[in-house]
């Protein structure tokens, strides 16, 4: 019933440009919510505000009962809010396995000292993290390249690794910033099913930015629309698709072609 994520009057300005203007939204537990809008609408900035990577000028973000408006990114991640990046930010010089293990250690209790002293606890913890990371790599089909460097991966595989890494945080809410960008048509088709599958398996709530209208319409329970930083519509995909303001601002002529 109560919202998992609640943004209230969130605002961020870059110089004279209002990137996100007084956006309020509730994301409910268990839903897949789409975030659409033309280029430069403020979608990525909105994600950055939610994850603590950009400071809000005003407004609040409450995640799972915690006010995280001024929290550091790492603190927000530890509460169970994971994300991927539009321009993919892997740890290129680390192996696929280590990329996932970094995130998998989010709840680790054994620190530097117990690791240096080879305590059994820290060894067990390392083993558990490694095992979980391997499972996640298998989930995204990259387990056979676990010891390759992330920088050596082709584009589509990087997107999958980034999702595996985000899942290693054991998140409750997963933010995906244009996960289908740069994928070929068959990969795109598989992606919607994949997102549905991980949502069920890990009991996730998903908020995703996507330009691909058919995918958004087929996948999302609700859709919110940003335009010039303002939220101009939110609701069921069919309703949003029929909204005159949205058609004018974003879907425009190619909505007919796509639908």
């Amino acid at each position: 019933m109560s919202a998992l994520l609640q943004a209230t009057d969130l605002r961020r300005r870059f110089g004279g440009l209002m990137a996100v203007c007084d956006v309020s939204i509730e994301v409910r537990p268990g839903e897949i919510m789409g975030l659409i809008g033309p280029n430069g609408a403020g979608k990525t900035t909105f994600f950055n505000l939610l994850t603590g990577m950009t400071r809000a000028d005003s407004g609040t973000v409450v995640f799972d009962g915690h006010d995280v408006t001024r929290a550091k990114p790492e603190a927000i991640a530890r509460l169970g809010l994971a994300r991927t990046f539009q321009n993919i930010r892997l740890f290129g010089g680390l192996t696929l396995m280590d990329n996932v293990r970094v995130a998998g250690r989010v709840q680790a209790r054994h620190g530097l000292l117990s690791g240096l002293c080879f305590t059994p606890g820290s060894r067990r913890e390392d083993e558990a993290v490694t095992e979980k990371a391997f499972d996640l790599l298998r989930l995204v089909g990259l387990e056979d390249r676990a010891d390759h460097l992330a920088a050596s991966l082709p584009y589509g595989d990087r997107r999958r690794l980034e999702i595996a890494r985000a899942l290693a945080l054991s998140p409750r809410l997963l933010l995906l910033d244009e996960p289908a960008a740069g994928l070929n048509p068959s990969e795109k088709l598989g992606l919607a099913d994949f997102i549905r599958a991980i949502k069920e398996r890990f009991d996730l709530t998903v908020l995703l930015i996507e330009h691909n209208v058919p995918m958004v319409m087929g996948l999302c329970d609700r859709v919110m629309v940003l335009n010039f930083g303002q939220m101009i519509a939110v609701g069921a995909p069919e309703d949003v698709q029929r909204d005159p303001g949205v058609i004018e601002a974003y879907l425009g002529g190619d909505a007919h072609g796509a639908a």
Binding site: T51, G52, M53, K72, P73, E74, A77, R78, A82, R83, F85, R89, L90, F91, G92, G93, L94, T95, D98, R101, V102, A103, R105, V106, A108, H110, G111, L112, G115, L116, S122, E125, D126, V129, T130, L149, R165, A166, A168, L169
Partner: protein
């Protein structure tokens, strides 16, 4: 054989001592932080040992402790380095890349000016007649050797345990590391302070080794030399600092027969190393090994 050690003993111990300074720069580099502060902590650590070893007020303590005075000096340098490292690290590590390097160079200068003006540090003359731990210089390997092994163990273990991944994640991409729950500032400061502590203790061991201690120990030139150990030896291999120190310390000695032209040749070797081995000596060896075994492997 004993003739060899008489001639080269001092050189060998110096290589290990300088390799320790190289390793102290290697620690923050693991978290992607280029810091030149090491030499400042080295200088301060040396002053701690020099003062504790010579100050008249501490004579009774020295009498009572005997040889154990030396470990106490290391401890003093360690505590000072950790406290100062945290105090300097938190503000300085908000800076990135070249700005951090500049800030740490400024720190070295501040330390230099400060000790020159502190009566207890002996001004420009410094402190001399620091009590010796051993009769022979070669015996100082019993100080530097174990410390070097300990530091090497730390670097190796951090690189191989789960917790150490946080350093590398920060090195690879700070923003993504934060998004993955890694405490970015905390890890940078930890890596930095490990380097400070190592440099401080190395300084405390070096004061008796060198017999005198003055502000010349902590110059900008010396900081750059330490960085060169890591860059020439290889910044991605735990053996890099030792390799670089061995080359840079012994090269002028090996070239001694060439008299005046040796510094020119010294310079040529270093420039050639930079041009042909951008990943340092260890990086070059790893690439060679990968080529010989016929497959691309990670360094």
């Amino acid at each position: 054989m004993s003739g060899f050690f008489e001639n080269y003993g001092f050189l060998i111990v110096t290589i290990v001592q300088q390799a320790l300074l190289g390793l102290s720069i290697y620690f923050p580099l693991m978290a992607g932080q280029l810091s030149l502060a090491s030499i400042g902590f080295y200088s301060l650590g040396g002053y701690v040992a020099a003062v504790m070893g010579t100050h008249p007020a501490l004579a009774p303590l020295r009498e009572a402790l005997g040889f154990w005075m030396f470990p106490l000096e290391w401890l003093g340098a360690l505590v000072l380095s950790v406290i100062l490292g945290i105090a300097v690290g938190y503000p300085a590590l908000r800076l990135r890349g070249i700005y951090l390097a500049l800030a740490t160079v400024a720190f070295v200068q501040v330390v230099n000016v400060a000790v020159l003006n502190m009566p207890i540090a002996g001004g420009a003359v410094g402190i001399f007649g620091i009590p010796q731990a051993f009769e022979s210089r070669l015996d100082y390997i019993w100080f530097f050797g174990p410390l070097f092994l300990l530091a090497l163990f730390l670097v190796w273990r951090i690189g191989n345990m789960g917790r150490g991944l946080a350093f590398f994640a920060v090195r690879e991409d700070e923003l993504a590391a934060g998004a993955m729950g890694v405490a970015v500032t905390g890890n940078k400061v930890t890596a930095f302070v490990l380097g400070c502590a190592l440099a401080g203790v190395t300084g405390a061991m070096s004061a008796p080794f060198l017999n005198t201690w003055n502000a010349r120990q902590g110059t900008f030139d010396a900081s750059v030399t330490c960085l060169a150990y890591v860059l020439i030896g290889g910044s991605r291999s735990i053996w890099g600092p030792l390799c670089g120190a061995a080359l840079l310390v012994s090269l002028p000695e090996l070239l001694r027969p060439l008299k005046d032209s040796r510094m020119i040749l010294n310079g040529i070797v270093l420039v050639a190393a930079c041009v042909y081995l951008p990943q340092g000596i260890m990086g070059g060896l790893a690439a060679l090994r990968a080529r010989l075994s016929g497959r691309g492997g990670a360094a």
